[in-house]
């Protein structure tokens, strides 16, 4: 097959059965790979009402058609499952080398179901796939687990996915890590591995990926690289990394600070791209990416790849922490224990505000580094009362302490580092994403008119449909200028058959609607597509939009317009007409409310 490996690995951990199965060809032209194809496999495997942490839930991880090729920035591997953090279907993706290694071992993806009766790891060496005992690795951090996996299998330089104690302890914002500092970061993938007693996967692939016309594909790659990829909007990620956003978002007043009370961190120069450069040792890249946005840093004896923008904000400014070495240490510990720096930073910030306002004292205060660092182990290991409290995540913590006016989450997923009161499009994006508050579905931060609701609704829909196809292809978000024409070009040449922009556009919309249908059948509706009280009722302080809020009325109007534009009914359920157009009628919700 061109571009694809042609097989999916099915792993049933309950029965210990491992089975390579040919790829479902009939799904490729509709779902392509990555997010879309994983979602289609996931739909086939589970029912929407499944308990996320039960053996019946499935974890589907999927590469895209360009993974393990020279098409740049395409190593991203998507994970689709039902989230223990949000209860929705969710997609999370990871860069680095695992995706390509898996594909070179001969598998486009893996579908994992069941639950092992003791800790195991999956070992993939091309066609030889086995489940191995991971008892000795129980409780280990990800950095040590990666070494153990390599040592125990003798696979020097083998690529791994693994969890730390947070995943084993089923923390809803735990992650699966790879190459020490890369993660399936959001939605609780670590807990999914943990619930299945799957400590990790190690892979070595020595195969090859074919293209229909290699010479022409290499020419096409060279052309789009020089004409589109290598321009300033993308190259800034090479020079500055994602930290380039620190100055920009502060200037725009969208930089969450002190538990989303302020839109500007006045000390942000301590956490910006220039500050990172001061402690940088090297630029690091994902597989097949020339941009190398990763900034490997060291302060004291602490090394980390990062911190990335989201960590600098949610684990820095939002906790009132302006000390870069402290944020680097926070980052390293979270990576090792296996926790999402975003949700972890956010829940700590919430606990800090509860303390500052005298509502509950967790011994945490804005800017207090000691508590901020020491609580991390308590959360991951559930070893103290406050650790257990924070390990529930922002939504449940807020519910326990009647602090729903202070928390900042949608469907249990913490709001990312772009303040919706200063950019309404991001608010609409957070409310309508399949996995709660997520900035990787639609991104309106650079919009010229952030408060024109109709314009924002259209931008959000267009952004969501495009992101969906981008993630299905495995492209990185940091090829910011990529478009459907370029993607269609790569596919047409690589597959040796014409692929049109129009069919890709439809596929994006199809995948978005299929995710929605899953969530509808899992019990979600318009009443869940909300923004936190804080964003609607409390005025933002400081920054360019000091005093702004996103009123309930404005938000409600925008949401209705969003549904209408998508051809969804007032409950947020896709109309039959839309489903017909997308070829999704067989997934229709039978009992429309």
């Amino acid at each position: 097959m061109n571009l694809y490996a042609g097989r999916i690995l099915h792993v049933d951990l309950t029965k210990g059965v491992i089975e390579p199965v040919p790829l479902r060809q009939e799904w490729l032209k509709k779902y392509w790979g990555g997010w879309g194809l994983a979602l289609r496999y996931f739909w086939e495997t589970v029912s929407p009402g499944v308990n996320p942490l039960s053996p019946d839930n499935a974890i589907v991880i999927m590469t895209g058609p360009f993974c393990a090729t020279a098409v740049p920035m395409t190593s991203r591997l998507c994970l689709v499952s039902k989230s223990p953090q949000t209860g929705t279907v969710f997609q999370s993706n990871i860069g680095g080398g695992f995706g390509p290694e898996l594909k070179l071992a001969g598998f486009d993806g893996i579908s994992i179901t069941g639950r092992a009766d003791k800790p195991v790891f999956l070992k993939i060496v091309d066609d030889r796939v086995t489940l191995e005992d991971a008892s000795e690795m129980a409780g280990m951090g990800i950095l040590e687990t990666e070494k153990m996996l390599e040592h125990q299998t003798g696979l020097l330089g083998g690529k791994t996915l693994s969890i730390g104690p947070a995943g084993e302890n089923l923390i809803p914002f735990s992650i699966v890590g790879s190459e020490s500092y890369r993660q399936f970061g959001r939605g609780g993938s670590g807990a999914l591995f943990g619930s299945k007693n799957l400590k990790g996967i190690i892979c070595r692939g020595t195969g090859a990926i074919k293209a229909a016309d290699m010479t022409k594909l290499l020419d096409t790659i060279a052309q789009h690289k020089s004409e589109n990829l290598f321009q300033e909007d993308n190259l800034v990620l090479h020079t500055d990394g994602s930290a380039c956003l620190v100055d920009i978002t502060n200037e725009m007043g969208v930089h969450p600070t002190k538990n989303y009370t302020e839109g500007l961190n006045e000390n942000s120069d301590r956490l910006n791209a220039d500050a990172i450069k001061e402690v940088k040792l090297a630029d690091r890249a994902c597989n097949s990416c020339p941009i190398a946005c990763g900034k490997f840093t060291k302060t004291g004896t602490t090394e980390v790849e990062g911190p990335e923008y989201e960590t600098l904000c949610l684990g820095g400014s939002n906790c009132g922490i302006d000390d870069l070495p402290a944020v680097i240490l926070f980052n390293r510990i979270c990576d090792d224990l296996g926790m999402d720096t975003m949700s972890c930073g956010s829940v700590i910030a919430l606990a800090m505000e509860l303390g500052e306002t005298g509502r509950h004292d967790f011994g945490l205060r804005f800017g207090n580094i000691d508590g901020y660092i020491s609580v991390l182990r308590e959360i991951a290991n559930l070893s103290t009362v406050r650790g257990k409290d924070l390990a529930m995540g922002s939504k449940k913590l807020a519910a326990k302490y009647q602090a729903q006016d202070l928390s900042a989450e949608v469907k249990g997923m913490d709001i990312p580092a772009y303040e919706p009161r200063a950019n309404y499009g991001m608010g609409i994006a957070y409310a309508t994403s399949e996995r709660g508050a997520c900035h990787l579905r639609a991104f309106t931060v650079f919009s010229n008119d952030p408060f024109d609701l109709s314009r924002q609704v259209m931008d959000v829909i267009e952004g969501q449909n495009f992101s969906t196809i981008k993630w299905s292809m495995g492209f990185c978000d940091f090829w910011a200028t990529i478009d459907l024409k370029i993607i269609a070009d790569f596919l047409s040449v690589g597959l040796g058959e014409e692929v049109t922009q129009e069919e890709l556009k439809t596929a994006g919309e199809r995948i978005w609607n299929l995710a929605r249908l899953f969530n509808v059948q899992a019990g979600f509706s318009n009443v869940d597509d909300v923004l936190p009280k804080k964003m609607m009722s409390t005025k933002l302080k400081k920054g360019a939009y000091d005093g702004n809020r996103f009123s309930e009325e404005d938000f409600g109007g925008a949401l209705s317009e969003y549904y209408r534009s998508r051809l969804w009914n007032e409950k947020g359920v896709p109309e039959e007409e839309k489903l017909e157009a997308l070829g999704l009628t067989r997934f229709m919700v039978e009992e429309k409310q």
Binding site: L104, A208, S288, I373
Partner: protein
């Protein structure tokens, strides 16, 4: 002076694009495993080391070949495929792990793409350069040449040598894995 290929690990981001392009050009498929250049990634320490063929002036692979299938052309060690029996003597002899048995019964090694190495063209951070030696580059290459490994498979040799270079570049002191906390 003749141009040579130099690897500068301090600039390598570990992206492997060189290996994708090399395999596409030489084998017609994307397969880093079949590439004539190999990247050793040490992600936890944020360091990568390229393994390249040095086109040794006194080449062990060439000297050990019982069939005289390896020869030198203008400083580049090349394989004459019809003479090669695939015995693997050269594979064991190369202390850098840079010649390997391929699945057609012969061996594969770097041919510098006939004088215009594609890996160099592809390398965005200029971690690979093809030029006349400067004092600094000659010194760097000298240090890489001095590290040799005779044990194990080519992959094991490369990994071991890469790790030694990585250890030198990054302090061997283990980074704080936050055990202190």
């Amino acid at each position: 002076m003749k141009k040579q290929l130099f690897a500068i690990p301090d600039r390598c981001t570990g992206c492997n694009r060189c290996a994708y392009i090399c395999s596409a050009s030489h084998e017609g498929v994307f397969s880093p495993y079949l590439s004539r250049i190999q990247i050793n990634n040490f992600a936890s320490r944020g360091y990568s080391v390229q393994s390249i063929c040095f086109q040794c002036s006194k080449a062990s692979c060439l000297e050990v070949c019982p069939e005289s299938a390896l020869y030198k052309d203008d400083g580049v060690v090349l394989v004459q495929r019809d003479k090669c029996s695939g015995c693997g003597e050269c594979v064991s002899a190369c202390p850098y792990g840079m010649i390997e048995i391929d699945n057609t019964g012969g061996v594969r090694k770097c041919d510098l793409c006939g004088g215009a190495p594609l890996c160099v063209e592809e390398c965005f951070t200029k971690a690979l350069v093809y030029c006349e030696p400067t004092a600094d580059l000659a010194k760097l290459k000298g240090a890489q040449l001095r590290l040799r490994s005779q044990q194990g498979s080519p992959g094991e040799k490369r990994f071991r040598l890469g790790k030694a270079l990585m250890d030198k570049a990054r302090s061997t002191e283990e980074a704080d894995t936050a055990q202190k906390n």
